[in-house]
């Protein structure tokens, strides 16, 4: 760069986006058909869905490889780095809003729909006419139509998981500090530790789900308590899975020697994402388990 202006790298042409679009098409079309075929013998939708997921994984690897190669070739200016950072922050903001929809449903059920079914506010007749025997309570252990379930206690696995995830945020922060100080060995150790903690969280989550399904009778179909419980923790678990994969890739790149103390956007993005997932869990722990 000889001019005083930075050159903003505009890639010429790229095949990855169209592959990604086809991948999303296959996922959407496949999932839509798969779900319709659940009650039937047909399986075509499932295969289309799997093909779509394969295409997307291929696209992610290819696209990221291109970006990493460009980055290693020094094509990116600090301005581009800012674009990536801002893009990642807005993406995380959109994720917050996604969880917001489900938290909204949780609060609505707790504060409005369940109490109203129990006759709160000016809804005495609602209860009288619909389900006079219904008693409003949260967690909703007996739904108006009589489905019963048990409440997931916050002690035990959920508490352990909270500690695990909070610790993982701390270890990731130490990894970041080591990266900034160019201390390679502590960096690898702290990051590996974070990955292990993430995986442990997921394993315990699976354990908790099977406990809920097999011993507690708490399932996706056990009324609005089970609905909000499984959708919130389920989507959170999906995000932890993605975050863990993200961290594993970062670890592999660090072992290859990819980042420098002043240039490590991908690491920063991964750690932002991880901290975000952590904060979502804290909200979950408080509003789904404890309160």
């Amino acid at each position: 760069m000889t001019t005083k202006h930075q050159t903003y790298y505009v890639p010429a042409q790229s095949g990855w986006p169209i592959i990604g679009a086809i991948g999303l098409f296959l996922i959407a079309f496949g999932a839509g058909n798969y779900i319709q075929q659940l009650a039937t013998e047909k399986t075509s939708g499932g295969y289309i869905l799997l093909a779509g997921i394969a295409v997307i994984i291929f696209m992610i690897f290819g696209w990221f490889k291109t970006v990493i190669d460009e980055s290693m070739a020094g094509l990116y200016s600090p301005q581009m780095d800012r674009s990536f950072r801002q893009g990642m922050s807005w993406f995380i903001f959109s994720e917050i809003m996604f969880f917001g929809a489900f938290f909204g449903a949780l609060f609505y059920a707790r504060m409005i729909s369940v109490p109203w079914l129990g006759g709160a506010s000016n809804n005495a007749m609602t209860q009288e006419v619909l389900w006079p025997a219904f008693e409003a309570a949260w967690p909703l252990l007996k739904t108006p139509d009589g489905t019963t379930t048990e409440a997931m206690p916050w002690t035990g696995l959920p508490l352990i998981n909270t500690i695990i995830l909070l610790t993982s945020s701390v270890t990731l922060h130490f990894a970041h500090v080591s990266l900034e100080k160019a201390k390679r060995k502590p960096l690898i150790i702290w990051l590996s530790l974070t990955v292990i903690l993430g995986a442990a969280f997921l394993a315990l989550q699976v354990e908790e789900y099977s406990h809920a399904y097999q011993e507690m009778g708490l399932t996706l179909t056990s009324g609005v308590y089970g609905n909000t419980f499984f959708l919130l923790t389920g989507f959170h678990g999906m995000h932890v899975t993605i975050g863990t994969l993200f961290l594993i890739i970062l670890l592999l790149r660090i072992i290859k020697g990819h980042f420098s103390p002043d240039k490590h956007f991908a690491f920063q993005a991964g750690s932002w994402y991880w901290h975000f997932v952590d904060v979502v869990w804290l909200c979950l722990f408080i509003f789904v388990y404890v309160l």
Partner: protein
């Protein structure tokens, strides 16, 4: 700013300063904001005609009372898919296309901030709409629950193809979010040196705020369609009172998305009108900073008014009043905007080329839509208007004579810059007058139908509504046909015409008018200096 020096520098530069590649793959693989803008605009126009054809089916069926042409269930599919296509397939992609074409040129950027993601955002859309349209041909039919897909219509009583509807909405949402992130990052990070916030063209400002709204509410739409999916197929009861949920909860979450969504479809219009009115009045825009603040206020208020769509659902009186007053408050910033446009025209030396005609029609007709919105905002009055043709008249005034007219205005205004040729002013005027007359024949009598009590979304109606419905249908067919003139104008303009020159409107202000027409494939590879 010295574009010439930059050009010579660029020629000596490396591989990414090439012209447009040739052939189909240019469009499939492109990372160029102008190519992607063109793709968005054509896609939007095709969807506009597709959704329009569905509207023609609706108006043909409603030409007479009784069931003439289509089954009620098919009629419902037509109203639903017409709405979905016009909202997500026509208006939103048109604005994104304009954003792609114009924002980098207006702020002096070389391209959008994330060019590959830009391509991805676009190419998701044709696939998403293929899925949505294909679901019409599935066993049991396509979506028939209205574009608002209220539970339990979309859960308990919906066709199996709802699963496809849900996933097509999901990928449309992914496309919108990525498009919006790209716009925000471009505006925040890529402005040329000296392009300070309060020097930004209003189109850029309004799009920045629109993009923020998109990122904030499209995920909420994704959440609510997911709940519809699990309620229908996986036995959850978010929207089922028997399991402790509530069908009204659907409406709360949906309209938390839905109300900002309607502003997503009008804020960029405000930016377009704020660009066109000063040019043809030959005066700077009156009250620039108040326009910026008004746009921001509208965006903030849009998060506090969602329940005005639900006054008749039996909310507590406090909620009804809160949402009524918040809704009425929106009239204030909107009024500021209308006042500023009129004040800009005041004592200007005005001329009335086609973009200006559409802009003036926008100001008048959008204001009519705004006033009927105020009427609907009054809770006790809304109990009468709710779910009648009055509502249909209201939102078509703001969306057709509002959003669509502004998009037409923008197309005429920037076509010379895009193609390098002037469009045919005669044909343009024909298009305008045919459209503006027919659109009022189409939508104005709907107010009376609604006030007289004709409900929306029905294929049949009582005999006393017959005369007015016939007038409305004739207006509808005429409006539909008038849009073919627009297609002719655009095609003719692309093929040739009087050379436009850098600034065909003389008084037009802004960086996009400082570069040649047609705009070179890469504009501002090095940023211009703004004084």
């Amino acid at each position: 700013m010295s574009t010439t020096t930059h050009d010579t520098l660029d020629n000596a530069h490396d591989e990414h300063h090439h012209g447009a590649p040739k052939g189909l793959m240019r469009w499939v693989l492109t990372t160029n904001h102008k190519d992607i803008g063109t793709l968005y605009l054509w896609f939007s126009f095709i969807m506009f005609l597709t959704g329009g054809a569905m509207a023609m089916v609706i108006r043909a069926e409603l030409f007479q009372p009784g069931l003439q042409l289509v089954e009620p269930n098919f009629f419902n599919q037509m109203t639903t898919v017409h709405g979905l296509i016009m909202v997500f397939g026509a208006v939103m992609p048109a604005f994104t296309g304009l954003a792609n074409w114009l924002i980098p040129m207006m702020i002096g950027a070389p391209d959008m901030a994330l060019p590959r993601m830009n391509n991805w955002s676009f190419w998701i859309l044709p696939f998403a709409f293929t899925i949505l349209l294909a679901s019409l041909f599935m066993e049991g039919g396509g979506p028939n629950f209205g574009w608002t897909f209220y539970a339990p219509l979309s859960t308990t009583y919906s066709p199996d193809s709802t699963a496809l509807f849900v996933f097509s909405i999901h990928i449309m949402g992914i496309s919108s979010i990525m498009g919006a992130i790209n716009v925000v990052v471009t505006i925040v990070n890529m402005r040329a040196p000296g392009m300070t916030w309060m020097k930004l063209p209003l189109f850029v400002w309004t799009w920045l705020i629109t993009a923020f709204l998109l990122i904030a509410v499209m995920p909420v739409l994704a959440g609510v369609v997911t709940m519809v999916l699990t309620d229908k197929f996986f036995g959850t009861s978010f929207f089922d009172a028997a399991g402790g949920g509530d069908p009204v909860m659907f409406q709360h979450i949906f309209w938390f998305f839905g109300h900002p969504e309607v502003y997503i479809m009008i804020l960029p219009s405000f930016g377009i009108i704020s660009a066109i009115v000063p040019t043809f009045s030959r005066k700077p825009l009156f009250g620039y900073s108040s326009m910026v603040y008004a746009t921001a206020s509208i965006a903030i208020l849009s998060f506090l008014v969602w329940a005005h769509h639900m006054f008749t659902t039996g909310m507590p009186v406090f909620a009804e009043l809160f949402f009524m007053y918040c809704t009425m408050l929106i009239a204030v910033p909107t009024g500021v905007k209308v006042f500023n446009w009129v004040a800009t025209m005041w004592r200007g030396s005005m001329t009335f080329e086609t973009p200006m005609l559409f802009a003036v029609a926008f100001i008048i007709l959008f204001t009519i839509g705004g006033f009927s919105g105020l009427m609907l905002a009054i809770t006790p009055a809304d109990f009468q208007y709710h779910d009648t043709y009055f509502v249909v008249a209201h939102f078509h005034y703001v969306l057709v004579t509002g959003a669509i007219f502004s998009i037409m205005a923008a197309a005429y205004y920037w076509l010379p810059k895009w193609t390098g040729n002037m469009y045919s002013e005669t044909l343009g005027k024909w298009h305008f007058w045919c459209s503006v007359i027919s659109v009022n024949v189409l939508f104005f009598p709907m107010h009376f139908l609604g006030l007289a009590g004709m409900p929306r979304r029905i294929p049949d109606y009582a005999i006393q509504f017959a005369d007015v419905n016939q007038i409305v249908s004739i207006g509808g067919f005429a409006f539909g046909l008038s849009q073919l003139i627009f297609l002719a104008v655009v095609l003719k303009c692309i093929k040739g015409g009087k050379p436009a020159g850098d600034n065909p409107w003389q008084a037009a202000d802004g960086l996009e008018w400082s570069i040649p027409s047609p705009a070179p494939y890469h504009s501002f590879t090095t940023p211009p200096e703004i004084k």
